[in-house]
C-alpha cells in the first residue's frame, strides 16, 4: 500500500517536471513548480520526515510561489520562443552525465535499508541519548538547534546575507531613478 502510494507520488512528480519543461506560459510554470513542491512535501511525509515536509510546503509551495508571481508581474508572462538548436555535443554531455549518475546509484544502499552507513554513524547516538542530553522530545529540533547549532547559525547568516544582497540590488526600487541632466524630461 505504502509502496503504491510512493510510486504514484513519484510518477506525479515526474509528470509535473515534464510539464514544467514543456510549458511556455511562465504563469503555468510557476504554478507547476508550486505543485511540484507540494508533491515533494507529501513524499517527505510518506518518508516520515515531517519537519522537512513542513518547510517544503511553507517555503517551496508558499513563499517561493508568491515571490515568483511577483517577479512575473515585473517581467513578462511568456517565455520567448527560441529556435531549437541541434548539435551532437550537448547530447553527448547529457548522456555521459546521466549514465555517470545512474552508475553512482548502484553503490547507494537500498531504499530504507537499516544497514546503510547513515544509520550507523551519529544517528543511533541522537536517537538514544538526545532526549536525556537535551530534554527535547523532537530529535530533529535537538539536532538542528543544539547538536548542529553551528550549522543552523550559518544558515541564518546565509538568509541575512541573501536579504542584504537583495536590498542592495532592489532596495531603492520605490524611488524613481534620477533623471540624467542631458536627457529630455519625458524619456523613461
Amino acid at each position: 500500500m505504502e509502496m503504491m502510494f510512493n510510486v504514484i507520488l513519484l510518477i506525479m512528480l515526474l509528470l509535473t517536471a515534464i510539464g514544467l519543461v514543456r510549458k511556455r506560459s511562465l504563469f503555468a510554470v510557476v504554478m507547476l513548480s508550486g505543485i511540484y513542491s507540494l508533491l515533494s512535501a507529501t513524499l517527505f511525509i510518506a518518508l516520515d520526515a515531517v519537519d522537512v515536509a513542513f518547510t517544503e510546503a511553507a517555503v517551496g509551495a508558499g513563499i517561493s510561489t508568491v515571490l515568483m508571481l511577483g517577479t512575473l508581474a515585473l517581467t513578462t508572462r511568456d517565455e520567448e520562443e527560441t529556435p531549437p538548436k541541434g548539435g551532437i555535443l550537448p547530447l553527448l554531455v547529457v548522456m555521459v552525465t546521466g549514465s555517470a549518475l545512474l552508475y553512482a546509484t548502484i553503490d547507494m544502499p537500498n531504499f530504507g535499508d537499516p544497514m546503510a552507513p547513515i544509520h550507523h554513524f551519529m544517528a543511533p547516538h541522537y536517537v538514544e541519548h538526545s532526549g536525556v542530553e537535551t530534554g527535547i522530545p523532537n530529535i530533529v529540533t535537538s539536532v538542528l538547534a543544539s547538536y548542529r547549532g553551528y550549522d543552523t547559525m550559518g544558515e541564518t547568516t546565509v538568509i541575512l546575507t541573501a536579504t542584504i544582497g537583495i536590498l542592495a540590488i532592489l532596495g531603492r526600487g520605490r524611488k524613481r531613478p534620477k533623471k540624467l541632466p542631458h536627457r529630455k524630461a519625458n524619456t523613461p
Binding site: 513563499i63 508581474a73 536590498l167
Partner: protein
C-alpha cells in the same frame, strides 16, 4: 483587490489564526514538527496576505523598513549572542548546558532563544524580500 469586500473580510478572519499558528509552530517546535524557520515563514505569510488584500502601502506603514532591517540583523545577533553568553559562562560556543544549573534546563533555554532568533530573522527576511519585490516600479 482593495474594494473586494469578501477578500477583505476573509483575510481579516484568517490573519489572527495564521498568526496564532506561527506562534504555535515557533514555541512548540521542541515537541512537534516545526521551529523557527517554519514559524518565520508563516509569520511572513500574514504580512503578505495583508499586503495583497489591503495594499502594499498599508503593509509598509504597519511595518516600516527600518524595523524590518533591525529585526533581520537582531535575529542573527540573538543567535550568536547566545553563543557568546555560553562562552562567557564557561562553556564552549553554543554549549547551552552552562546556561542553567540543570543542563537540560540550559539546553531548553538555549534552544528556545536560538529558535526565536531564527524565527525573527527569517520572518523579517521574507517580509523584506516580498516588500522589495512587489514595491518595484514596472
Amino acid at each position: 483587490m482593495k474594494n473586494q469586500a469578501i477578500y477583505r473580510e476573509v483575510a481579516k478572519l484568517m490573519m489572527p489564526f495564521i498568526l496564532m499558528f506561527a506562534m504555535y509552530v515557533q514555541f512548540h517546535g521542541d515537541f512537534g514538527p516545526g521551529g523557527g524557520f517554519q514559524a518565520g515563514v508563516i509569520l511572513a505569510v500574514v504580512y503578505i496576505l495583508y499586503a495583497l488584500v489591503f495594499g502594499l502601502g498599508n503593509a509598509r506603514h504597519v511595518t516600516p523598513m527600518t524595523i524590518l532591517r533591525f529585526m533581520l540583523a537582531f535575529g542573527v545577533l540573538l543567535y550568536a549572542g547566545v553563543g557568546m553568553v555560553t562562552m562567557f559562562m564557561g562553556g564552549q560556543f553554543l554549549d547551552y548546558n552552562v546556561l542553567s544549573h540543570d543542563p537540560a534546563h540550559g539546553q531548553h533555554l538555549g534552544v528556545f532563544l536560538v529558535e526565536l532568533g531564527v524565527g525573527i530573522s527569517v520572518a523579517a527576511a521574507m517580509i523584506t524580500i516580498f516588500f522589495v519585490f512587489s514595491g518595484q516600479e514596472h
